[in-house]
Amino acid sequence: MKSSQEIGQFLLQQQTRRVFLGRTSQGVGALALAAMFSPDKLRAAATQSDKWQGIVKPFHFPPRAKRVIWLTMAGGPSHLETFDPKPKLTEMHGQPMPESYTKGKQIAQLQGQKLTCFEPQHKFQRFGKSGVEICELFKNIGSVADEICWVRSMTSEAINHDPAHMFMNTGSQIAGRPSMGSWLTYGLGCEAEDLPGFVVLTSLGRGGQNQPISARQWAPGFLPSRFQGVHLRGQGEPVLYLGTPDGVTRSQQRDVVQTINSLNRQRDTIVDDPEIATRIAQYEMAFQMQASVPELMDVSAEPKSMLDLYGCKSGDGSFASNCLLARRLAERGVRFIQLYHKDWDHHGGIKQGVEYKAEEIDRACMALITDLKQRDMLRDTLIVWAGEFGRTPMSQGDGRDHHNAGFTVWLCGGGIKPGMVYGATDELGYAAVENPIEVHDLHATMLKLLGIDHTRLSIKFQGLDVRLTGIAGNVIKDIIT
């Protein structure tokens, strides 16, 4: 039986420029079929530009946020030297870690070694009206503490960097699943006219191990390539192959694009291939990006006060610069902006290591929150600060090992309750004991804020209705306003 639904789906694909072929065509099923059977809407779709409008129509819930800025602290930041005070651990310093905490749990590099309590290496102090207690190295973040919701009961299933990043980004430890930025652009489309919907920026700090980050972390998995994250690079061309060939002027490149498009149009009249219209649109988009991306990356137009707020210089490739770029991307309608700041992998020398990190991110995070708030964009921008896991309360020399049983992430803006602490780890900071949160819960909450029911954003792949949240995920209602 050729169902009417299938034919309808096929026609819709034509209108959306046939981006879906093969298995992904089935994903269109989530769309309201009624819309496809209204001739008016059909014609409207046919004349639309190539811009992907997203599959979630209408929203499942009233959206609270329009976009996400996800600050990935790569390497696994210690919650014990950042946002989770543990005086009891100071008391227990140098004593064996009680076995009741660790028995039967995953351990990374400390496998088979003596486990000893290691006191927090920096002092904590209270900030803001909420009086949240965080490490004194993060005074700037402390100054905006009343905007932030701290989740101190985060957990992860993975304990090594690569699978843990994969899990945090795709909800699965198996390679080949779409990253959350891809899910969001697939679900909601992109508002930007001449920029991709999912953008990635990376920065490197001092004193860490520079753990590798695979392009898999921003890959679309089995979703079409148009949903892949585009890495805006700090060195060379910001987007790969963005520059015209040496010796060719922009006006010549425009001639080239126009001639290609003109010849493609002429061919279309003979072969009548709807892919050609898409091809033409992509060449126009590519040509626009050749101008819009350099414009975006050039922060010299920002007032000096703005550069001072963030504490960066134009083009220094720092995390602070990337935060400023994140705001510019947010302004231009990019849906998902992910920053990776590396070198949080403090197996040794954690005291100094966290000082370096604080220098690199403290001011920038405050600036991003302040800047967005000034522009009235914090309301509908969700900021998430998260590593792929935390670190052990036990020592590894003068550092800490990987740890997934309890750590801290924070969220801000976009419908998040400000100035609150949610969940807690035990008194030694080992395991989340109060309101433990899983990665799928975090994803479900993010999707909810964006107006999406995480159980309904799915794609048929290998016999499963695959979701970002796997077969789990509970929205953390208590942290939503």
């Binding site: 034509q14 960097h161 590798p212 392009a215 060379g236 060939p245 072969v271 499963l464």
Partner: protein, 1035 residues
């Protein structure tokens, strides 16, 4: 036949949805369970009423007729065959009561009214079930003859859908299509002309056979296979480091070229190592089992990754041969298909015998010499054998030396035994160095390495008559250069040794030395040394003499070195007394402190005369102590063999042997290596993991077993453990219902654009029952019965009329069959990533035609690998011919696949990919316009245009057009291109430096004999041509 524009089709197509009545919806037609009912139940009902035993609600399973027609837990009967009115199922899908409605609201699934209607009619017609189509072995449908079978089965479908076939395509388009499909390269214009003019009835068949015989056929066919088996040059996880595996890729190419039968192909890859007396090729094929992702990440847990590797391999077998999405069964019984967790882990147990490091670097792999290299290898090995035979001979000329050596070694041993190792009771450093007394009585320094230091050693044993003290400097792996000192080069300086006896913490007497011996005294860097030698004596001369004096041992830092000190008077230590020895280091620079050392004492004044730093090993010492007459034959042989390793008379022969061995290792180091499968004697234990959790080890242990639901024959009750070879044999056994269908479906897709069942990786209930199942089954049967002959199947497909249709469609067909599932036209699609590159390089005349070899590194933007680490890597683009290799030879860095390949949907090959997306994104435009590979190709094509076509602009543009798309331009196209050319020509003439820069892109030099401005302008012409939609489209 008139071809209609898409624009009008879009208008009419909408109405077509209503007008073209659903074909099977007529009241009289028979509902087919597999085609109509199963997909609807699977999609909407099975997650609660399906195979997953733990999730079944209300004791009702709709995947089994028995369960469906008997009373459920509620007492109601879901389906009463023939009586929809009495069937609870009908009531529940029709009800308006939200509490009763199925599927329930929270599932977010709804049935359309057509689906409800269909289910109701199915029940009226008796609610018959069928086994799942893909789990029953295919039977060959009736068809006139082999050559006509495809067309005849397609025609049957045309008739039932009311389709009229598209006309045969013109020969130019057909040639271009066939070239891309069979060899992945564009035809030359003269080849197209020849084919167009060839009036022989066998013209097409001849062309097909010629291309099937081309060495590039194997390269073309390999692409899809390398995707599905996830072939890549790097390990994938974390550091994503390289591994040796490319010979496997060449094996695949060769297998297709030599038309290796698919059953052999299967056995060799899964179990090449288990075949009787396997060849090098079969072992290389077994590298298949090593293609998965692995890790070197520190802190990764072995058990965790052992499970990851196993499940990866199970998913691979599911994807490659069975079209089964086994992954779900890792955590629970499959929800839609009858795969149980037991099936899943039993499948995994087949791979528990693969020898591999779980966490860490892969081994270098097996040597893979070609024929010539294999000969040279054999010659070198023969040479070594010959010398070894000589060396292993009786060698009577050594007997005298042998006897002398035994005597002197025995003396050394006796003397050494008079030395008693003496561990200090306490060892301190004046500068905070950590000194640890180890179990073997030696002292190891660590931590702080100060410029100058005093080690103070205290000895409290009661001793009498000690005449000598020995210090052994011992190399240690923890020290720099694996020496015995802590300076960067492994050296140390012992400036002065001072000794005294103390009682109650007070010095009672000084201990003096009268002579010193050492196994080495450093001569290098002794200019400022007052003795011009870093001598033993200087360590006991009672004077520091500045920072350039003392005992040092360069260059032999990695050997044990002895310093022996003779006491002026014998030393006796009483109970209350303590000997204190200070080892002083005043050299100053670079922390020349002792790193590892041991002290010993002797009461034997003979022993003090001799330095015996190197003693025979303990087992040889035992032999030496047996008197020659009492040794048995093997003891004598062992001792003699040992002597041969140091006999001066034998040195020339030893050197010859060493040279020969070095020649072999040198030669081997240049040969390719490839990871292969080796078998473990004791396979790893495999257990069912509850919820897939590797930390829970309480699950039942399982042995290798074939999936129960597919293995209808029942496992032969073999007492022996099943092997990977058994698995391979079962996959290609005639009764296996899946392999032939799954594999032929993928091959079909290469020539028609989509599979006959369009869900390539799922032949389970969530997949698609093929609309033309007779055709798929005929092909599957033919494939098996031809002896798994891939070329034969490809030939049948491309010779069919179905293949030779135009890819344009009539209006009627477009409305009736918008997706072309009826195959009443050919498909058209953008070339695969590799072929986009091959096409451009080939048109440019740059393409290397070499088949096989190490992976190549095309130009890549600087810094693209910046986020790789352990180690950091810098990309070095290949040089010379290697820069211009076909796309399939591109270095496959899993975490950062070459960006221009990625832009055109090349998969990362982290997981098995049964198909690729065919996206159309701006990055593709950026690559084709700006990637140096394509700019260089455009320039080389421009050179060809100017050199090979001497005519005017029109002639040249026409020449270029025919080269690139195998047809002349239309007058409009010609005019458009001419305008561009003339405009840019003037611009480049006015800016010669711009032209010069433009022509410098890429490694190959632009010819100087061509006018630069002209070449630059024509480069833009070529660049435009390489960017055309038509150029990168197969139609």
């Amino acid at each position: 036949m008139k071809l209609y524009s898409w624009k009008t089709i879009k208008e009419v197509a909408f109405w077509g949805v209503f007008l073209a009545a659903i074909p099977s919806a007529g009241a009289a037609s028979k509902i087919d369970f597999n085609r109509d009912v199963r997909p609807v139940l699977a999609e909407n009902c099975f997650s609660c009423h399906g195979p997953d035993a733990k999730k079944v609600k209300g004791d009702l399973r709709l995947d089994q007729r028995d369960s469906t027609i008997r009373p459920a837990k509620s007492g109601k009967i879901a389906v009463v065959p023939g009586k929809p009115g009495k069937s609870e199922l009908v009531r529940r899908i029709r009800t308006t009561d939200a509490d009763d409605l199925m599927p329930p609201e929270e599932s977010h699934k709804t049935l359309t009214s057509a689906q409800k209607e269909m289910l109701q009619r199915w029940i009226s017609q008796g609610a018959e079930y069928q086994g799942h189509w893909a789990y029953t072995a295919p039977t060959r449908p009736q068809s006139p003859d082999r050559a006509k079978a495809i067309d005849s089965l397609v025609k049957t479908r045309w008739r039932s859908l009311g389709l009229k076939p598209a006309p045969s395509v013109d020969r130019r388009t057909l040639a271009r299509r066939l070239y891309f499909d069979l060899v992945g390269l564009p035809p030359k214009p003269e080849e197209v002309d020849a084919f167009e003019q060839d009036r022989s009835p066998k013209a097409y068949e001849n062309l097909v056979d010629r291309l099937l015989a081309s060495p590039h056929y194997g390269e073309r066919m390999a692409i899809g296979w390398l995707d599905i088996v996830r072939f890549a040059d790097t390990i994938g996880y974390h550091s994503d480091t390289p591994r040796n595996i490319w010979p496997y890729r060449d094996y695949v190419i060769r297998a297709f070229n030599e038309n290796k039968r698919f059953d052999h192909f299967t056995r060799e890859q899964l179990a090449g190592d288990l075949l009787p007396d396997p060849t090098v090729e079969q072992k290389v094929a077994s590298g298949f089992n090593r293609l998965l992702l692995t890790t070197e990440e520190g802190g990764a847990q072995s058990k965790d990754y052992e499970v990851r590797y196993m499940t990866d391999r199970i998913r691979a077998v599911g994807a490659i041969w069975l079209g089964q999405t086994t992954g779900c069964a890792q955590c629970h019984d499959h929800k839609f298909d009858p795969i149980t967790a037991n099936d899943f882990y039993s499948m995994g147990a087949f791979f528990a015998d693969i020898k591999e490091t779980i966490i860490g670097a892969r081994e270098p792999g097996m040597l893979v010499p070609d024929v010539k290299e294999a000969k040279e290898l054999a010659r070198l090995e023969q040479e070594i054998k010959k010398i070894e035979a000589d060396y292993n001979g009786a060698h009577p000329e050594l007997s005298e030396g042998f006897a002398d050596w035994q005597k002197s070694e025995l003396i050394k041993l006796t003397q050494d035994e008079s030395w008693v190792r003496w561990a200090p009771a306490k060892a301190d450093s004046s500068a905070g160095t950590k000194l640890k007394v180890r179990d073997n009585q030696s002292v190891l320094a660590s931590g702080n390495n100060p410029e100058k230091d005093n080690y103070t050693l205290q000895f409290t044993n009661e001793v009498a008559g000690v005449v000598g003290i020995r210090l052994e400097a011992l190399p240690d792996d923890s020290l720099p250069a694996k020496g015995s000192g802590r300076a960067g080069n492994g050296n140390f300086v012992l400036t002065e040794v001072v000794a005294r006896v103390e009682r109650d913490g007070k010095e009672t007497r000084r201990i003096l030395f009268d002579s010193a011996l050492a196994t080495i005294e450093q001569t290098v860097a002794a200019d400022s040394n007052p003795y011009k030698l870093w001598s033993a004596a200087s360590a006991i001369d009672g004077d520091i003499k500045g920072d350039s004096s003392g005992w040092a041992i360069l260059p032999d830092v990695t050997k044990a070195q002895h310093l022996q000190l003779r006491l002026k008077a014998p030393l006796n230590l009483m109970k209350e007394e303590m000997l204190v020895i200070e080892l002083q280091q005043r050299h100053g620079a670079k922390g020349h402190n002792l790193g590892s050392f041991r002290l010993a004492r002797t009461t034997n004044s003979e022993a003090i005369q001799w330095l015996n730093p190197v003693l025979v090993s303990a087992d040889i010492a035992v032999l030496l102590k047996i008197s020659p007459n009492n040794r048995d034959g093997s003891q004598r042989d062992k001792l003699f063999s040992h002597y041969k390793t140091l006999a001066p008379l034998l040195k020339p022969l030893r050197d010859t042997l060493e040279t020969a061995r070095k020649s072999l290792t040198d030669f081997e180091s240049k040969l390719p290596r490839s990871l292969v499968t080796e078998r473990l004697e004791n396979p790893r234990t495999v257990r069912i993991l509850p919820r897939g959790n590797w930390m829970v080890e309480t699950g039942t242990e399982v042995k290798p077993a074939l999936p129960a639901y597919l293995n209808k024959q029942g496992a032969s009750v073999a007492s022996q453990r099943l092997t990977r070879l058994d698995l391979a044999n079962w996959l290609v056994a005639p009764e296996n219902p899946l392999t032939s269908r799954v594999v032929i479906n993928r091959i079909w897709k290469q020539f028609f654009g989509f599979g006959l069942s369009k869900v390539m990786d799922d032949f389970g209930s969530q997949g698609e029952a093929p609309p033309n199942q007779p055709l798929l089954d005929w092909l599957a049967c033919e494939f098996k019965e031809s002896g798994w002959d891939v070329k034969h199947m490809v030939r049948l497909m491309v010779l069919s009329e179905t293949y030779r249709q135009d890819s344009r469609s009539s209006r009627e067909n477009l409305i009736k069959d918008p997706e072309n599932r009826g195959l009443a036209r050919q498909g058209r699609w953008r070339l695969e990533a590799e072929l986009v590159r091959d096409n451009a390089l080939s048109l440019a005349g740059l393409l290397s035609r070499t088949v096989g070899g190490p992976s190549a590194l095309p130009y890549q933007p600087t810094g693209y690998w910046e986020n790789l680490n352990f180690p950091q890597r810098t990309y070095q683009a290949s040089e010379g011919e290697k820069q211009y290799r076909r796309g399939l030879y591109t270095w496959w860095q899993r975490s950062f696949v070459h960006p221009s390949m990625l832009a055109f949907d090349a998969p990362t090959r982290e997981e098995c990919a049964a198909e690729r997306n065919r996206s159309n994104i701006p990055q593709q435009a950026l690559v084709l316009m700006n990637d140096p590979s394509y700019v260089e190709a455009a320039r080389s094509l421009a050179v060809r245009i100017l050199k090979e076509c001497p005519g005017d602009i029109s002639a040249r543009i026409t020449f270029a057009w025919r080269e690139v798309v195998a047809r002349p331009p239309t007058p409009n196209e010609l005019a458009t291109m001419r305008d561009l050319l003339e405009k840019h020509l003037v611009q480049f003439q006015n800016d010669p430096s711009a032209a010069a820069r433009y022509l410098k892109v890429g490694a190959s030099p632009a010819p100087t004999t061509v006018n630069a401005a002209e070449l630059a302008a024509w480069t833009d012409v070529a660049r435009i041509l390489l960017n055309l939609h038509e150029t990168i489209t197969r139609s």
